[in-house]
């Protein structure tokens, strides 16, 4: 029975990772940059909902929508100010460093506004928990909502990319920026749109993360951010179903290794599995193999 509950918890944790990983993956696929500030956008999303729902007593659903809007604007602003000027820089490392700068910036701004003491986040989920097998197995409402939200987002995103013009433009830009521009696609606009979607997803991930693990501080986003990044690589960075698979696998490995091997070494085990996966399949589980041409 405990194995089942571990698996459920693993899937729940993995779903949060998957939603965060989506943001990483989309941005990487299109802008070819590792956006290290993504984890901190999650934290910002959490704080916006916290301020509105707990501080001002606004309806949670409305707060989440506002948080998504806020993060969208934030993501686009970051892209415009800090990333776009470096898009054609001599080294792709330049923009990576700027992303780290943005990450420090967001953490420290939050620290100054909200202070360092952690806040308890009131869960936005009102669904009661599900009791199975005479109470031996309990699935919390947050778990159910997280998993459902993850699936819905995944499906909507796949439809968006494959069925709409803007989605097709994203695919084209990720394939070849220069050619896409020649075909009349607004490359800058498409990349900005990607950041907008990624940041809105980060806001949702922030709410779900804080609902499942209700503690919010300026550093809440850092570790889930790194793990989600690993999840994105796991599944094949740039691939949407890959992010889902990577996230859930990561959550499962983390929880199961904690339960059956060592609770202290669970992170080391997660990273070790990542290395093995990359050695066997260098572009991740669902990643595309790109043959280098001479």
């Amino acid at each position: 029975m405990s194995l089942i509950s571990y698996v459920i918890n693993g899937i729940s944790l993995g779903s949060v990772y998957a939603i965060i990983a989506l943001g990483y993956s989309m941005v990487y696929g299109i802008a070819k940059m590792l956006n290290f500030a993504h984890g901190d956008v999650i934290m910002v999303g959490g704080f916006v909902v916290y301020t509105m729902a707990s501080g001002l007593g606004i309806n949670p659903i409305l707060s989440i929508l506002c948080s998504m809007a806020f993060c969208t604007v934030l993501g686009m602003t970051i892209e415009r100010i800090a990333y776009r000027p470096l898009r054609n820089a001599a080294s792709s490392l330049a923009v990576l460093i700027t992303a780290i700068g943005v990450s420090y910036f967001l953490q420290n701004i939050a620290l100054i506004i909200y202070g360092s003491s952690p806040k308890a986040f009131t869960s936005v989920v009102t669904i009661p928990s599900l009791k199975l097998a005479d109470g031996a197995l309990t699935i919390s409402g947050e778990t159910i909502v997280t998993i459902v939200a993850c699936i819905i987002i995944m499906v909507v995103l796949m439809l968006f990319i494959n069925k709409t013009k803007a989605g097709q433009a994203m695919l084209a830009v990720s394939e070849d920026k220069g050619a896409a521009a020649l075909m009349g696609i607004n490359v800058n606009g498409t990349i900005a749109l990607t950041f907008a979607i990624g940041s809105a997803l980060a806001a949702i991930a922030g709410v779900l993360l804080c609902s499942a693990y209700p503690s919010l501080s300026p550093y809440t986003g850092a570790m889930p951010g790194i793990k989600a990044f690993v999840a994105a690589v796991f599944g094949g960075i740039g691939s949407i179903p890959g992010a889902l698979i990577g996230g859930i696998l990561l959550g499962l490995i983390e929880i199961l290794s904690k339960a059956y091997i060592s609770s202290q070494l669970s992170d080391a085990i997660v990273f070790a599995v990542l290395i093995v996966v990359l050695l066997v399949k260098p572009t991740g589980i669902l990643g595309k193999q790109i043959q280098e041409k001479v």
């Binding site: 405990s2 509950s5 360092s116 308890a120 919390s140 947050e142 503690s215 202290q264 669970s266 992170d267």
Partner: protein, 385 residues
């Protein structure tokens, strides 16, 4: 690119010269006031503890200054950030020395405190740590502690559980990457062998994975634990309580002084903490006048309820005041002279503070005070017994 390099070198040189000038300007001022320095993490993951100590110290120093200072001498105060990193902590110590510090309160966290003690020993600077609880913090003669040492808390908790027959099956969840937590756990574990209960499950977590506790709780539940011992801080404990409630696991939770901030966490649902027992020297809801005065002033100044770190820091400043008054030291004695006088006086004084009445110190630097057992009833701390 070349001009850039030149500009950078130029900036570097000017920064260096500037900082040197700042440095020599300060060391030459004659010591006429007490310059108390503080070190702790004000930014970064552990900033909640550093901020609390900073505020607690500030409050005490302002009070003393308003009342006319220590024997008529005013206190100046400077708190430096160490990001909970040993190197930064030593850097902060050096910066404070340049400022002219003659007494140090810090470092807040154990690891940093150990690194800084090596430096204070070289300078023979009087050091009082409000919250560095590892025994390694006080190996030198010039260092004293305001908080309990970890071993004392671990043994105390095990004895309390055993003597009061709180449970026969006990589970422990501790933070293996935290010195405070492992310190308590180790002694608890050792003392448990002499007591009338059995540790049925021990699970650890680390600073990198401190949000999901479902596994640790499931293990405790499967082992049939009646009591879960949590030698950890309030933030993680709040998550554990929430997740335990979500999985219908309701043992008695038992914690140490790290847990006392739990009701003060903004927006925390106090019903989750119902029935939690903790051994702590300080609770913000205590009825005595001193605590109430402190808490109301703290809330007024910083907008949040103080935790045990703030109380320890507040007591640290008053302890320094008592030691100075008892020893008759003056700022003119110089760093080493002050330290010798105060070290001698520390073993003779007795301080009534927020975290204990009649606190006394041994020459080793360890404090003697009694923890109180508290239980949370209806969202308030209540004295047990």
């Amino acid at each position: 690119m070349k001009t850039m390099k030149k500009v950078m070198s130029l900036v570097l040189v000017s920064v260096l010269t500037l900082s040197m000038m700042v440095g020599c300007g300060n060391t030459e001022t004659a010591a006429t006031t007490w310059k108390i320095g503080g070190i702790g993490p004000v930014t970064g993951d552990a900033s909640v503890y550093g901020q609390a100590v900073k505020n607690g110290m500030e409050l005490a120093i302002n009070e003393i200054n308003e009342a006319g200072g220590i024997s008529g001498v005013q206190i100046e105060y400077n708190f430096q950030d160490d990001e909970c990193d040993n190197e930064k902590s030593v850097n902060a110590y050096n910066a404070l020395k340049d400022w002219g510090m003659n007494i140090l309160v810090g470092s807040v966290t154990s690891g940093c405190c150990i690194a800084v003690t090596a430096e204070t020993a070289k300078d023979n600077m009087f050091q009082l740590t409000p919250s560095g609880s590892s025994v390694d913090c006080i190996i030198n003669d010039n260092v004293f502690q305001v908080c309990f040492t970890d071993p004392n808390q671990g043994i105390g908790a095990a004895q309390y559980i055993g003597a009061n027959g709180l449970a026969t099956k006990v589970a422990v969840i501790y933070n293996s990457s935290d010195v405070y937590s492992t310190g308590i756990y180790e002694k608890f574990n050792a003392e448990a062998a002499n007591q009338d209960f059995e540790i049925v499950s021990t699970s650890a977590f680390t600073n990198d994975s401190k949000s999901d506790f479902t596994v640790q709780l499931q293990q405790a539940k499967d082992a049939g634990a009646e009591l879960v011992f949590l030698p950890i801080y309030a933030q993680e404990a709040s998550l554990i309580l929430t997740q335990a409630a979500a999985m219908d696991f309701a043992p008695t939770f038992f914690g140490c002084d790290g847990l006392d901030g739990i009701l003060a966490i903004e927006n925390f649902d106090p019903s989750l903490a119902e029935g939690v027992i903790l051994l702590t020297p300080f609770v913000a809801d205590a009825e005595d006048e001193m605590t109430q005065n402190f808490v109301s002033k703290y809330v007024e100044s910083y907008g949040e309820t103080p935790n045990q770190f703030a109380a320890d820091a507040y007591d640290a400043v008053y302890t320094i005041k008592a030691a100075i008054e008892a020893s008759g030291a003056t700022p003119a004695d110089g760093i080493s002279g002050i330290c010798d006088k105060m070290t001698g006086a520390m073993t003779t004084i007795s301080v009534d503070g927020l975290t204990g009445t009649g606190m006394t110190w041994a020459a080793t630097g360890e404090v003697a005070k009694e923890p109180k057992a508290m239980v949370i009833v209806n969202g308030e701390y209540t004295n047990l017994q």
